[in-house]
């Protein structure tokens, strides 16, 4: 997973293709991970990822650094693309995560991952989006707040609730 990219004002996408290229390289896999985590469909996630980067590329001159960093801006576009896709297809496929190779892990850890996958499936889309933004895409709470249009403390509170739900699901599993 790439480290959180905070684009300085001078490297903002509107300043040129070079900055956008750097943003693309640092965020490509993260955008895909977010889309796949939210949509739970690999093919749709690929489509949404490509659409998000296309839109971002065409709007790169409109980016305003004062309204957030480059990653938050890019994930805002990716989120709109993902939500448009959900509206268009009006369906949610099964989450396609990398298969859990439980044999390569110790028994306890493999069992935990299986329980976690099951718990993720039960999450509502809003909670699953938070998990995708935080743990799959690697966004900070401030970036998540910028993407969702909420305050940073509100984003932290929502995340805490989701993690609590997941932990309770893991603890309550047989």
């Amino acid at each position: 997973m790439s480290e959180a990219f905070v684009a300085p004002a001078t490297d903002a996408p509107r300043d040129g293709d070079l900055a956008f290229d750097e943003l693309y390289r640092s965020s490509r896999d993260d955008v895909y991970a977010y889309a796949a985590g939210l949509l739970r469909d690999r093919a749709v996630a690929e489509d949404v990822t490509a659409t998000a980067f296309e839109r971002a590329y065409r709007k790169r001159s409109h980016f305003d650094p004062s309204r957030g960093n480059g990653r938050a801006w890019l994930f805002g576009i990716a989120r709109n693309a993902a939500l448009d896709e959900i509206r268009r297809r009006s369906r949610q496929a099964e989450l396609v995560s990398d298969p859990v190779d439980a044999t390569s892990l110790d028994a306890e850890r493999g069992e935990l991952r299986l329980i976690l996958v099951a718990a993720l499936k039960k999450l509502v889309p809003r909670d699953r989006e938070l998990v995708a933004l935080k743990y799959f895409a690697g966004l900070s709470n401030a970036e998540i707040a910028a993407v969702l249009g909420i305050s940073e403390s509100n984003a932290g509170t929502k995340l805490h609730r989701v993690v609590t739900k997941l932990r309770e699901a893991c603890d309550g599993a047989p």
Binding site: D17, R42, E46, E54, R58, I86, D98, P125, V131
Partner: protein, 377 residues
């Protein structure tokens, strides 16, 4: 607050579940990124979308320049059109032949008798020698009357009322002298100045309402034309033979009635009979007086022609004397027109732009709501 170890383990396990893109997809996306993300669908290559894409490639600054240049060109074109229309000469011609309205008329080749003392078609040319815009008089004549007279084999007697408008162009400094010349010309032909106004300042000029003996109208017009440059000249004639004849006949009837009443009065035997005839006689006299007045008015209209004379100066100065002051005036005029055109354009575009903005904001708001609702489905 330090995160619990359970939370840290949970976070690590969640990160381990992070989906990763297929290598083929990543490679394809990298290639598209290197190519500047060309559009993928075939529909995107429609003429409209390709034009939109071309406009997008221009960038906001170049688009702004293009829009500004287009707006300026539009304003310039509209200004030229409006200024051309405003500066076009009035719909009259120096040649009165084009200016006289002829709803229904007959042109007389013969001479007009004394009651129509004005210049005839042939006499006008001689009375206005040197005046290239000598009028050709046309008269409105009811066809039945004219044909009836012609059928009787005699030259018809016509009462013709004439009116003339003449506009002179003068230097501002010459307006006073020209006005004096107008008074002198009117005096020479025995005319009457009904009304005159002289304006000083930037739009220096003068207006005269004149009554000119119809017999000397040609001489008067020639004298007016010689005062300064003739800018406009209208001449119109109206045949008032029918009302003149009708009133004359009614007056004759009235006189006959008075004569009859006088005879009756002289033969009256009783006082009451005389009194009744006298009352009737007074009414007949009043009626005859009114008819005489009307007939005299009609004769005055025939004997005197109405002339409206205007002396103008200023913006329409003759070519050759156009100077820096005129340039300033013209520049100000053009700027005023350009400002007007811009104002009208804004008045048209502003409501449309406001509607577009409101629609766009409403669409964005609706789209945002719908997107958020997609997560709640």
């Amino acid at each position: 607050m330090e995160p619990r170890r359970d939370d840290l383990d949970l976070a690590a396990e969640l990160r381990a579940l992070r989906p990763s893109p297929e290598r083929t997809f990543a490679a394809a996306l990298d290639a598209r990124a290197a190519a500047g993300f060309p559009r993928r669908t075939h529909a995107d290559y429609s003429p409209i979308s390709s034009l939109a894409a071309r406009l997008r490639r221009l960038g906001p600054r170049r688009l702004l320049y293009a829009a500004g240049a287009t707006a300026l060109a539009s304003i310039a074109i509209a200004t030229v059109v409006v200024a051309t229309n405003n500066s076009a000469p009035e719909p009259v011609a120096l040649d009165s032949r084009q200016g006289v309205e002829r709803p229904h008329h007959v042109q007389f080749s013969g001479s007009i008798p004394k009651t129509a003392n004005g210049p005839t078609e042939s006499s006008a040319g001689s009375s206005a020698q040197g005046d290239t815009s000598a009028p050709q008089f046309s008269t409105e004549v009811p066809p039945s009357e004219a044909s009836a007279d012609l059928a009787r084999g005699r030259v018809p007697h016509r009462d013709i009322k004439r009116s003339t408008e003449i506009g002179l162009l003068a230097e501002p400094a010459d307006v006073a002298d020209d006005s004096a010349d107008v008074f002198s010309a009117v005096h020479n032909v025995g005319g009457i100045v009904l009304h005159s106004t002289t304006t000083a300042g930037r739009n220096t000029g003068a207006n005269f309402d004149l009554l000119i003996p119809s017999a000397k109208l040609g001489d008067a017009l020639a004298a007016f034309s010689a005062i300064d440059e003739v800018r406009t000249r209208h001449e119109a004639t109206t045949d008032i033979t029918a009302p003149t004849v009708a009133i004359g006949e009614r007056l004759q009837d009235s006189r006959a009635k008075i004569a009859g009443l006088l005879s009756q009065l002289s033969a009256a035997e009783t006082a009451s009979e005389s009194e009744a005839i006298e009352i009737e006689l007074r009414d007949a006299h009043r009626h005859a007086a009114a008819l005489r007045s009307q007939l005299a008015g009609l004769h005055r209209r025939v004997d005197y022609s109405r002339v409206s004379l205007r002396i103008e100066s200023g913006a329409a100065a003759p070519s050759g004397s156009w100077g820096i002051d005129d340039a300033w005036g013209d520049a100000g005029h053009i700027l005023v027109i350009a400002a007007g055109v811009t104002l009208v354009g804004l008045a048209v575009l502003a409501p449309l732009a406001l509607l577009y903005l409101l629609a766009w904001l409403a669409y964005r708001f609706w789209l945002r709501i719908r997107r958020e609702q997609a997560l709640d489905a």
